[in-house]
Symmetry: C2
């Protein structure tokens, strides 16, 4: 950032050369984005105040706001000015909860069930679910809506012992996690989750009602059931990153017994 | 997926209509992607075998491979055929480790330090670090390379009590986490992490040596130090999703004492 009053000039590495405006705009956008996500920034955004807060030019602030506008986080219109559209929903991935449980209080979750069927498990899916290739597996594909807005496209493979009874239930209005516990009579155990980013291909974008190229979070989640922790549920989730952010708290050392995690 | 032998036709919801090829291609791509990430699939990819495994047409398999090729996960060339480029590095976000600690064994991490300076803390940054707006804050910007390939663009704000001594150390070759523990003489406590997805803007893409529009993971990480868990380190990380995936294990219920987490 320009214009810093630096008492440590002698210590500054030689690589700290002239900043490009794009670098500064990215810093401003990153800090603002998270403030909006958390609800720290709501309503109107004052360009002058940002110029002062971040010690950057008005053009840099405008570049930062253009980034956030392209992401759908703020709205810029000539008469109304710049304002925050809304904060994101937060999805904790350090606890095992379904989307409906996670978004309780933010709106109503409804699932559009596009497919719910039994098919032969692809070898890669069978391996993860500790089945044999070609065994029957239940496959469910849902578009999940929060107050009618699509926020997630979920592909779910279930082992047939829990998956077939689950198909008898109201999968349009109930989390798979809730139903797994209901049909099995045991609690879920844990899930291994992998997170990647993707830019929506045209078809995914159309399904999720966003412009092509919108950033998505891809999550693979292998969920285990009961005291034996057997894998029963392999999911591939595509979440709109403009509507949902993921959260996790990590500890450096194992926590002492009795310490809340 | 087409051609399933479904013993449960009566139970199949009416929404399970004719599948579009793009839907099937996405399923195949999602399952393949994670297999590649994990190292389950290496070397040559056999289109015919995938056609059989997923019970889809040859064109659907080709669409799926086109998705993975665009993501840089596989290489398709006329003479050599289709093969996996490499697996991704895995970054656990349920434990608190620096990138160098995480990638140990996968290659050498080197940090290109673009900025390392003291500046006045923007109000939003000061708030997160429990400082006053305008207080001095140490700002470091690094491009992090694994074996000379840029994989992460990191913006770091540090409270001056730890940040200023840290600037005296070898930040080109050492994780900030390691240095924070060295200069403070105490262990890190924990970090709150938020994860979002972004499609690289042209400037970020140039910094990370990827095509514009490549998917990135944005992580905000607030790291706390010592037994009082005071916030000292606020970071905005931009990770190449084509090189790194994030991992976390979640439990449904609190684990019994003595149970390994």
């Amino acid at each position: 950032m320009p214009n810093q009053t630096d008492p440590l000039d002698a210590r500054r590495p030689p690589t700290a050369t002239r900043r490009r405006r794009a670098d500064d705009a990215r810093v401003v956008a990153d800090v603002l984005r998270r403030g909006i996500d958390r609800g720290d920034r709501i309503g109107a955004i004052d360009e002058s105040a940002l110029t002062t807060e971040f010690d950057v030019s008005r053009n840099t602030v405008r570049d930062a706001l253009a980034i956030l506008s392209a992401e759908g986080q703020i709205d810029r219109s000539p008469r109304v000015g710049t304002h925050v559209v809304r904060r994101k929903a937060e999805h904790g991935i350090d606890a095992l909860r379904g989307l409906q449980e996670t978004l309780r209080g933010l709106g109503e979750v409804h699932n559009e069930v596009r497919v719910a069927t039994v098919l032969r498990a692809p070898a890669a899916v069978a391996r993860r679910l500790e089945m044999s290739p070609g065994d029957d597996v239940v496959y469910i594909e849902r578009i999940r809506r929060l107050d009618d807005e699509p926020i997630s496209l979920d592909l779910t493979y279930l082992t047939p012992d829990v998956g077939i009874p689950l198909l008898e239930h109201d999968i349009e209005n109930t989390d798979v996690f809730t139903l797994l516990e209901r049909v099995s009579g045991t609690r879920l155990h844990s899930a291994e989750q992998s997170v990647e980013a993707a830019c929506a291909d045209p078809h995914s974008a159309a399904n999720l009602d966003v412009p092509s190229g919108t950033a998505l979070l891809l999550i693979e989640r292998l969920t285990r059931l009961g005291p034996t922790a057997r894998p029963v549920d392999l999911e591939y989730l595509r979440l709109r990153s403009d509507r949902i952010s993921l959260h996790a708290t990590a500890f450096r050392d194992p926590q002492p017994i009795g310490e809340p995690r």
